[in-house]
Symmetry: C2
Subunit: 336 residues, 2 copies
Amino acid sequence: MTTSTSFRPVIAIHGGAGTITRASITPAQQQAYREALRDVLHGAQQKLAAGAPAEEVAVEAVRLLEECPLFNAGRGAVFTADATHEMDACVMRGRDLACGSLAGVSTVRNPVRAALALMAAGGPVFMIGEAAEQFAAKEGCEMVARDWFSTEQRLAQLRTVQAAALASGREQVALDHTAQSQTPAAPLDERKKMGTVGAVVLDVHGHLAAATSTGGLTNKKPGRVGDSPVVGAGTYAKNAVVAVSCTGVGEAFIRGSAAHTVAARVELLGESVAQATAEVIHRVLPPLGGDGGLIAVGADGEVSLCFNSEGMYRGQIGMDGEALVAIYANDALAPA
Amino acid sequence: MTTSTSFRPVIAIHGGAGTITRASITPAQQQAYREALRDVLHGAQQKLAAGAPAEEVAVEAVRLLEECPLFNAGRGAVFTADATHEMDACVMRGRDLACGSLAGVSTVRNPVRAALALMAAGGPVFMIGEAAEQFAAKEGCEMVARDWFSTEQRLAQLRTVQAAALASGREQVALDHTAQSQTPAAPLDERKKMGTVGAVVLDVHGHLAAATSTGGLTNKKPGRVGDSPVVGAGTYAKNAVVAVSCTGVGEAFIRGSAAHTVAARVELLGESVAQATAEVIHRVLPPLGGDGGLIAVGADGEVSLCFNSEGMYRGQIGMDGEALVAIYANDALAPA
């Protein structure tokens, strides 16, 4: 235990949770994910060590995750049922509860940077669709063509899910993490993965921040928004309390006010970050169908990487610069 | 005090909070608002008395508020800076935390009914833009032309705000509740009103629900989403805890997770509904610029109509069918 005057600056990240088992991944694929997580942590840690504010560190970590096609955000985002991409992102600064959320953007290279620009602008905190894209462009965010986010693997996933839905006679579903068939082209069965990336940070000044970004769910209905951009559901940060970023079945995380419930338990009940996150992930969310996980960091640097699914891509790094990563449930954090 | 086995079914509604003073309203205008609130309460109370579930009663109250051009939701919604209408709505059912949220819809006659249809469909809980409208149409919600929501008074308000912004040299602002000039055509200085309507209900079965609907802010940026459709910010309901619907500066209510903070304080700290709502409205939100108010009802039927602005259109009705309404701060609830 540490006191409130003693804290350990730290970054924690996630790259999505879901049905990720050793049986479903080759050793080479596993290693590629571990190294990707490690590289993201190293990249963001440079900002942490240089004294950057928590929200900038969190956004840098998420930007690097967006840039990596292995993760379902930014480039490598999954396709909607209409074979389009719709991305959501959010950032929240614990110091003053400033936040910025975007939903349904298709042409912003790094949605999380547009969310940061929205937060910095000090006006609306939540913008959607084309208007959000116009805002991002005006703020100087890099804009790209709609197909920039597409990868062949993701398109193959969509076609597989759609074919399976057609064969089963069910309506094509937005969330199909129970689908059984494997996509040969995908390094993982990504249809079983709740695709979201996120970061939580306690910076050297003792400030907290959280950021989350998502490409949604393979074959989701266009226009569907999950928990990621919903402050208090998928993302939340409050100084002296906790910073939280979630990944999972977005509907359940919205219904359960997942991120804010963690914060409320820490703030109002005095629970530890470990206690509060376990309560939400293992007791609040499961009755709502809330498969998934979250990452959280408290005011003293206590980190929780907590999930009720079979795996969650995750990692953390402190001031010593040693990146620790893990994938499965029974998988101790270790260097990549 | 009542015990949990003794509860009084009740409906509470709001029609927006803001700078509403006796000096700014003629007696005739005041009376029109009081009677409108009364009629909405009477309309919804029929469903309450007939044993309808809380979410249906709340949606009916909000639908009636949407239909009334005096209030900023549905017909009579304010104009965006582009002279369009963009509406958001949300409903949440306390029994199972089911919810439905829509943002940025322009052709659904009653956005709150579309939110109910979304909740009932059991898939996505949050949809935006055209896709949300397509969903509503498919579900049989009544669709209307975009100009159906327009009224001459609202257009006059927009032109006045835009002219004032031009004259002042400031960029036209999304939220201009500090504007000084009066719109002669408007019965109230609606630019100073946080335009949202909402209802909270404890039904005869002891279940809670909340619903909120909004036309946004006069001259707001298109694409801006406020707190109304954000579960945990503008709307929240959980059985045995509380149902909450907010109205105010949406950005602050999102940053403060206003509705869920009320619920967390009731659930985790055991505060009364009066205590929890006062804490949020008078302590949590003001430092965030959170002018506005909320209505809440607890599991025993304890109602709080709480605001930090100069007035809030509000009312409540129980099983006895007596509608009580009020507008100003120093304005006791009374029959219209």
